[in-house]
Each structure stands twice: as structure tokens, then as C-alpha cells.
């Protein structure tokens, strides 16, 4: 697992979820002052870091 790639994925997750939060505000799903606007980017950071760790972990061969 490359740590730099994992950090890159987490950063992209933060940005992606941040822009998703802005989209949700612009489309009237979330209020501008909703705490979700602040929380969503951090959820993206965590989620993508976890996905990155899971995706980069080599699978063990299933027993025959």
C-alpha cells in the first residue's frame, strides 16, 4: 500500500464530498447553515481513506 496514494485518495474524497455538499445546497436539499455542509467533506475523507485501504489490501486466495 502506497501511503502517498492513500493520502491522495483521502484528499480527493474530501474535495469530492465537499463539492457534493455544495451541490446539495444549490439544489435546495440542504440548508446553507446545515451542519451537514461541514460534516460531508470529512465523511468523504474517512470513507475514501477506508475504501483506499480496503482496495489496496491484497486478497488471499480462497481455499480449494
Amino acid at each position: 500500500m502506497k501511503v502517498s496514494r492513500l493520502i491522495g485518495i483521502a484528499a480527493l474524497g474530501f474535495l469530492f464530498f465537499g463539492f457534493v455538499a455544495i451541490d446539495l445546497v444549490l439544489f435546495g436539499v440542504l440548508a446553507l447553515n446545515s451542519v451537514m455542509v461541514t460534516v460531508l467533506p470529512f465523511i468523504g475523507l474517512l470513507l475514501c481513506a477506508v475504501l483506499g485501504i480496503v482496495a489496496s489490501r491484497p486478497r488471499t486466495q480462497p481455499p480449494a
Binding site: L26, G28, L30, N33, M36, R59
Partner: protein, 188 residues
Amino acid sequence: MRPTRWVFVGLLFGLLVIGSSGPAAAQLGGECTASGVWQNKDLTVDASTIGNNLVTVPRKDTVDWQGSVGSAPGAYRGSIWLELPPPFGKVEIDSWRGTSTNTSNSGTKDYSLPKFVPAGVEFTVSGEQVDSNGVCSGTVRLQIEGGPFESPVTYVALALTIATGGPLAVMLLAMAKAAIAAGFGGAS
């Protein structure tokens, strides 16, 4: 895989709990009144009766406004602001201060909001006045008439979502493929 599942369950539960909390109820507190009449839209907003209703206002109009307090305010100060998501606080729209013996004030205000202020977005505007009567404070939820595609901000936000979502998906897929290849491909 079990710990990973718990992380996902925790995140989804957190999302549900935070997402389900509604905005604070809009009301006017203190011995005071405030109201406005939009001339072109024929809309009247009374801060004491608006409650938690979402008010839709036109992008451009003229408002006849009035406010009053219970008795002569003496030295007073007040402000009105736009609520931002925590921890960003608020953006002050206007403020006032002075000394007066008048218990009411009124006026007419023309306004025209620029195109970049998005329509359909729920804004929470709050205000308060502090004087010898005490503190008069209020909150109202409002949105500008129209759809999200009337503002260029929406196109920029969508473009940035795609610009970050695309590379993110590519990177995750590449890592997953590499992991599968290392696990099943007989890598030494």
C-alpha cells in the same frame, strides 16, 4: 472485513442522525414587532407569525418595512446577518446603532440581488436589536425565487464535482485492480 463494515454502519448512522435534525424554529423573541411587504410580489412577512415557514422572495423588488419596540429604546444597537454552516459563523448584512425616543420606524427599500446569488437555496437570516427594552431577536428561513441553473455558481460547482469525482473513481478502481491482481494473480 468486519471492522470495515462497522465503520460504514457508523458513518451511515451519523449521517442519518445529523441529517435528520431540522433548522431552528423561526420566531421573534422580545417585546418588538417587524414586518415587510414586497410591493411587486404582493407578499407580506410578519416576523412574529412566520414561524418555521420558508419564505420565497423575488430576486428584485421593493419592500415596505416597519419595526417597533414596546417603549422608548434609548441607546440601541442591532444587526442582521446570514447564518453559515458551523464553524463558519455568520456574515453580517447590516448593522445600526444610536439613541432614540421613537418606538417605531419604517421605510421603503429597493433591492436587486446579483445573479451569482443562487436561487432555490435555503438561507437563514437572523437579526437582533439591543436597547433599554431588552433584546429583540428573530430568525427567518428564506430562498430566492427561481431554479438552481439560473446562477453560474451551480455550473461551476457541478464541474468541480465531476472534476474531483472522476479521478477519485479512477484511483479507487486502479487500487482495487492492483490488489486483486496481487491476490489472485500468483504474485510472489
